[in-house]
Amino acid sequence: MHKNLFRLGFAFAVLAGTLVACENQDVTDVNNDAARIETNTISPEMAKVRDYVPPMAVAAHRGSTFWAPEETEAAWRWAREIGADYLESDLQCSKDGVILANHDDNLCRTTNIENVFGEDVPRTRPQWYMENAGMTEAEAMAQYAKDRAAFQPYYTNQYMYEELLMLDAGTWFNESSLEMAREGFTRNKQYVSTLEDQIRYAEGKMLKRDANGERVFTKEGTYDPANPHTSLKYKFEYVDDPEWRGNVPGIYIEFKESWLNPSNFEEMVYNELDRLGWNIITKPCDGEPWYKDGKVNVGNTNGKVILQTFSFESLRRTAEKFEGKVPMCFLLWHDNITPAQYAGYINQGLEFKAHIIGPCIAGAPNNYFEMNAPWMADMIRRSGMLNHPYSFDTLDQMNTYFGVYHYGAGQFAAPYMDGAFTNRSEMTIQFLIDNGARAEGAPTTVEDPIAVLERLGY
């Protein structure tokens, strides 16, 4: 009897010993967890589109938030001349269907709207209806009353584009960034930008202005409140920028939160890119190099447009409309994330035809969540996607995520980035040059950033 019991006990001991011998983890270790998680991987077809994007691409975040008023002519001309690969922006839509490049959902921070319109519908609106919608005064007043009833003050999508033209998008910068203030940002009136503006700046152009310094444009069609986004068309005019020295950057455009824009906004952008000759699905640019004659040439390649979004809804709609044929970045914002959750984002990005993950990075001055730790960057790399972290402001951040500080301690190979959204394009480009990380043929020098502003007339 005791013999049998001994055998039984021995069997359990062997079982326990076998389990102990198996690979197991005593405590949660995110580095090990991340290494053990297999994400999905990018398909060969998607990888082909991913490779439209130049290595270590420098995206000028809103043009620059440091040197000039963001997402304006001044910021994007500067970014183009400093040598950024992409001019970055955020897309919204005016009430009458103009696709805008503007970051905040409301205009209070970056314009003087509170002083110009206050909380009410612009009082010029009835007159605008009579001139652009063919309404009688009574009809215009009735429509005005409807607008007032549904009005959400300061939200960009509540205003006609001509109303937005009344706003000053440059002077606020001088008031909030005293050390970077330049009289030229006021003298050369900065407007709430359009997507077309951004593209034309990338092409080496600037706004055509009249004798009073106001931008020149014409309109076609009659505004129809039942069909507000397509009934009236603006025709903007541009001139060759005399200060253009040959760089043609691409554009890196973000679809904002879905509720800000029309439900067919991705389709509107698709068509607008088509109209402006920047839709590579309908007008491919095969064979063009990213850099040509020592100048940025990304804007003439198949990588000329990168789409991006935080919005899950926009991610889905972009996948439906663009079918993964234009490089797409899925932006991440999540505190205290686990490897399994991180893999979930990557897999979701791949499922909805994204080629790039855009994680936020830690560090002053923004102090965002850390979403680009070495284990995170390693998961992105293993998926075959590109990693474009946002947004760089300091050399310290560059050193960290490029791996100069040996941040990953050897477990995960540096660098922890394949590109960067940066507010200091001059700093990021110089860093990459110094570390031999710019692609062959890219400019090898960076002009002084203040000299560029002065050369551009600011």
């Binding site: 006990g9 102990v20 949660t28 967890d33 399994a340 959750q341």
Partner: protein, 449 residues
Amino acid sequence: MKKYFLLPLMALFALNAVAQDFDTEPVVKFDNESENLKFTIGARMMADVAYYHSDFTPLKSGAALTDARIRTSMTYQNWYFFADFDFSKGKFKQKNIFLQYAWDQNKDQSNWKWHAIKAGYYNDPASMSRNTSIGSYHFISRPGMVNALQNGRQLGVSYKYVDKNVFLHQGIYAENLYNDQIAGFQGATISGRWLYLPINTETNTLHIGVGARYAKLKTGTVNSNVVQTNLNLSTSLETYVDPDAQFVNANVPWASDVFNVNVEALYRGKKFFVRGEYTYKAIGKDRDDETLFKNQLGTLWSWGSLESWQAGNPLKTSHFQGAYVEAGFLVFGQPYTYNRKEALLGGLGGKSLEIVARYSWTDLNDVVDGAYYFVAQDKYIDNGILADYPVASTSIGGGELHSVTLGVNYAINRFVQVMVNYSYHNLNRDKYAYDKNFHGVQGRLVFSF
């Protein structure tokens, strides 16, 4: 890892321990026959050691004092009082405390009948497993499905009727033991267990039957004049050393009407037993939509009408289920016993050795067909279409667990028992996509008097 070799050593030590005499009488007993009064006092200790192996998320292997209990009872004429208290983990916890008045009809005759009225704090009557003391259990833990879906102790009163072929127990209970809810009335529960015994002899018992329970939940937290009820269902991986219930866990907000239906069967022979239960749970919801709608008014993000708010925040009844089968074979020792008045299998009595096996299935997944699960945010989108502000999901992905346990129990005498269990668990839960397989080897030393 050094602590893990204790498990087989403990088992071997127990198997070689010197046997003690079997004693059926309480150790500490005061018996006053002239007053027809009896008082007992006892205690119980359980020490567990466990080693776990998981695919991804670690569990905490180690040892723990999982039960340290003092019990007392008093019998006077037809009255019986019982109370026990737990001090494990250094914390006082009230366990059973009840008073029972019982009487026999036709005592010592073939048409014997027994009645009892019981009041106090004790186990919900609707299930077999919950009413079986863990001290008499043939496994280290109750099945996961019992932990998740069946109910434990509650405060109330019940009536019990037992005869040769029938067991009936039904009662009414309060929702909250101490009436310490922040506001509002307590809810109430009615519950019962009804069995038929086609075989009922000294050595063989077969019972089959059903249990049912209805609970009206009313207590909860109060936010902006709205009482929010909530029901959490969960189970550990059938273990006490790491009692974390993170893997199988369903939170059910706005729970209001909770229905349990239970089917059970048990066969007990001298050297063999098999028993099992199936439980189905439906949880109806209730919510003060009008107040919640009014509370959210006043911002740009507000829903414009009650109907639109309700459409964006739908409620639906949740459904969960589970089952288990347990079997045991007595290698040697005192035959298996059956407690007629409780309709429960007894524990090992005296020096015995048994081999046991169990399969348990717990299903806390109630996910709408076609729902999209977004693992990064642990969120379901019921219509399957990725959106920034989807209609609030009615899906609950609490996890589905299949568990198989094999065990050996050795009672050295009526006071000391050693248990060894090996368990394999297979988990299916969207939230834990990388955790599929869990293994656990557990040992327990029980001392009870």
